[in-house]
């Protein structure tokens, strides 16, 4: 086993080890759920459920993969389920007919000048205002660091649709941040 890899779970001590896993990973899982579900309450319930599921299927964990990715996978799947259940769209990630790949973009360009380090909170606020279908892929790519292909398979979408959703998400984020900036200036 490579030193870089996270330790595997010896079965005899699984109870204690799971507590250790919980302590080490709970924060990250909770934050992922918070981003995906956009609600502190729901995230706490979800994180709890994710660890229950993880404990139940710990035997299926492939020790050659990072533990955090495995947990993130469970969390992602669970949160998508929650969103689908509570979502009001028939298909959570459908684009409206008016939105297509070819529609001309007229959003603001890159926001380097207003995206300074202090603006982190604004970015997270704006992220929270995005619709589920835009927020989820964006969180998966930038927080969970998944590739478009991984996201596509997690969400059951085509790679192209994932690319479009992420593109739209960034556009909307820019618009919201720009608006925020002008509001800030006018104040």
């Amino acid at each position: 086993m490579s030193v870089l890899m996270e330790p595997s779970i010896p079965m005899e001590n699984s109870e204690q080890d799971f507590t250790a896993i919980y302590q080490a990973q709970h924060g990250r899982v909770l934050r992922l759920c918070r981003y995906l579900l956009n609600s502190v309450d729901a995230a706490e319930d979800a994180a709890h459920e994710v660890f229950l599921r993880a404990q139940a299927r710990i035997s299926t964990y492939d020790a050659s993969l990072p533990l955090s990715s495995w947990l993130s996978g469970i969390a992602t799947n669970y949160c998508i389920d929650v969103l689908r259940r509570r979502g009001t769209e028939r298909r959570l990630f459908d684009l409206a007919s008016s939105e297509s790949l070819d529609s001309p973009s007229n959003g603001p360009g890159p926001l380097t000048e207003i995206l300074t380090a202090e603006r982190g909170k604004d970015v997270r606020d704006a992220l929270g205002q995005l619709a589920d279908k835009y927020r989820v892929p964006l969180v998966l790519v930038y927080y969970n660091e998944m590739s478009y292909d991984e996201i596509a398979s997690a969400l059951g979408l085509s790679r192209n649709l994932v690319a479009t959703l992420i593109f739209r998400a960034k556009q909307q984020l820019r618009q919201k941040l720009q608006k925020e900036k002008y509001r800030g200036m006018s104040n």
Binding site: R31, E89, P110, T112, R124, V141, Y142, Y148
Partner: protein
């Protein structure tokens, strides 16, 4: 290659272009200065976005604190929800345990267990007993804490207003200061005892409320406790909820009371509306007397100035000036100035009975009416035999009216789901969430009317109480619809949100629900449980919708 589209930039900076595509882009960048600048800008933007989104992992703070400037309110807000959630679950569980534990040997299904009699719609008096004990319990336990809470809240508000008034005065904002002072004054008047629409007497430590023989209440009196004994005089109405209510004194107004045992030996100049297990009226009632209970006894010394009605098993030994309406197993030994109307199982008119008007009975068989030859009946005596049996289910009208009910519920349901789209997906993932909803529903179904009554005690609370009561009634009606929607969606495994699939699921659910609640014997129980669970789910979802709306700054 032409300059890149914004979409291509997006994919490019995420490093997700195919090898061929990214080679083309790189080639283009070599020759296009504009795109090179754009490339740098987009990359920088991406880096900042990732940093912002990842940032919370770099701090040791909790997610709420980092994500939200108003972190504390968010965390605070989470707490009441948890209390409701867990409290609801606890109540649901304990209700279940209470039912299961109360008399295990009786739990021989499918016949209805004896201790579940109150759930049986055909056992009217049983339901009344149970309802009255519940109301008495909430009245005794709930009223004292709620009035204490209201008092302390108004006290705190008063202090805040006074302090604000002083601060304003010091800041020389005279007009505002005057406004605040006026508010404070109003609050003081409202919260002071004379501001109440009625006198309140709520049992403290010893659980008893007693109005002594020499005491007089010049107002309406609201009394709640374990026992309520009125030996004195109430110049207004009496509203009393307790385990036992005894009236030896004089009530100049009306009496509204709910208790396990109700005894009236004194004088009530108005009417009596009483619900409980045992109701005994031996005194003088100026106007009407209406009693709901397992046994309603109008004693031989009792005189009722107006009409009397007994639901349950009435025994009428006294004197009723006007008409007497009896429902259930009835004995009549006293005198009735006008007519007697009876509907129910058995009627015995005893030798001492004197009925000036007609005696009309609606019974299932003629021999259920026994009139002693020595009894005096001034008017006509008629017995109408209504055919028993499965009449309800064999009538076409029944199905037609149920169909109308389904249609009405369907329209109401569609409106509900349009207003609260979240409810379309209100569901129960497991038995725990069903119990949770049931517990919350249980609490709301029984606590709301009590709370409304408590609020109505204060003058300003009356409109609030009315709104609360109407909301409660609407909630009771809509509760079934929430469950029906869930059943429909589950059966059709419909995830769809088009109006068509929502409507179809709702319709299927409603039809099944109406069939279930109309089943013989168990229909009542099903109905009761559905209403509790539905009410809980409705309340939590509507509450959730408001929370979300508030959270997103609407």
């Amino acid at each position: 290659m032409e300059c890149l589209t914004e979409f291509t930039w997006s994919v490019f900076v995420d490093g997700e272009l195919t090898e061929l595509e990214s080679r083309k882009v790189e080639d283009h960048l070599k020759i296009c200065e504009n795109c090179r600048a754009m490339s740098a800008a987009f990359r920088e933007e991406n880096r900042l976005l990732i940093a912002s989104i990842q940032e919370i992992d770099m701090t040791g703070l909790s997610v709420a604190e980092v994500l939200d400037p108003s972190a504390e309110p968010v965390m605070e807000a989470a707490r009441p929800v948890d209390i409701v959630k867990w409290g609801g679950m606890l109540i649901g569980l304990s209700a279940l345990i209470r039912i299961a534990m109360s008399s295990p040997e009786q739990l021989a299904l499918p016949s209805i267990p004896v201790n579940l009699d109150w759930l049986n719609p055909s056992n009217f008096s049983g339901s009344l007993n149970w309802l009255m004990s519940t109301i008495a319990f909430f009245a005794a336990e709930g009223v004292s804490s709620m009035t204490a809470l209201a008092d302390s809240l108004s006290f705190v508000a008063l202090i805040v207003l006074i302090v604000t008034g002083i601060v304003m005065l010091l800041r020389r904002s005279v007009s505002r200061s005057a406004m605040v002072s006026a508010l404070g004054l109003i609050l003081l008047i409202v919260s002071a005892a004379p501001g109440f629409a009625m006198d309140r007497r709520v049992a403290g430590e010893n659980k008893n409320v007693t109005l002594r023989a020499n005491e007089t209440v010049d107002d309406n009196l609201f009394a709640a406790g374990d026992t309520v004994v009125i030996d004195g005089t109430v110049n207004g109405d009496l509203i009393a909820f307790a385990r036992s209510v005894t009236i030896h004194g004089t009530i100049k107004g009306n009496v509204i009371t709910g208790a396990t045992n109700i005894e009236v030996t004194g004088t009530v100049e108005g009417s009596i509306l009483a619900g409980g297990q045992n109701i005994q009226i031996d005194g003088k009632v100026g106007r009407n007397a209406v009693g709901f209970g397992q046994s309603v006894i109008i004693g031989k010394d009792a005189t009722i100035g107006g009409d009397a009605a007994g639901f349950g098993n009435p025994h009428m030994n006294g004197a009723v000036a006007h008409s007497f309406y009896a429902f259930g197993m009835t004995d009549i030994a006293g005198s009735v100035g006008r007519n007697v109307t009876f509907r129910g199982g058995n009627l015995s008119v005893l030798p001492s009975a004197r009925i000036t008007g007609d005696l009309t009975s609606y019974v299932s068989r003629a021999e259920a009416v026994h009139v002693d030859p020595s009894a005096m009946i001034g008017g006509k005596q008629s017995v109408e035999v209504t055919k028993p049996g499965p009449s309800r289910y064999s009538r076409v009208g029944f199905y037609f009216s149920e169909l109308l009910h389904v249609a009405a519920a369907f329209v109401a349901g569609i409106l509900l789901l349009l207003i609260f789209p979240k409810l379309r997906h209100a569901g129960f993932s497991d038995i725990v969430s069903v119990l949770k909803s049931g517990g919350i529903g249980f609490l709301l179904v029984f606590a709301t009317p009590i709370a409304a009554l408590c609020v109505a005690i204060t003058l300003i609370g009356i409109p609030v109480a009315l709104v609360g009561f109407v909301t409660w009634l609407v909630g009771l009606y809509l509760a079934k619809i929430v469950v029906a929607n869930f059943i429909g969606r589950t059966l059709l495994t419909s995830q769809g949100d088009g109006m068509g699939s929502v409507a179809l699921a709702l319709l299927v659910g409603l039809v099944l629900t109406f069939i279930a609640i109309n089943l013989p014997y168990i229909g009542g129980l099903i109905h009761f449980v559905l209403v509790l669970v539905g009410f809980g789910a409705l309340a939590t979802n509507v509450y959730g919708s408001f929370q979300t709306a508030r959270g997103s700054g609407i």
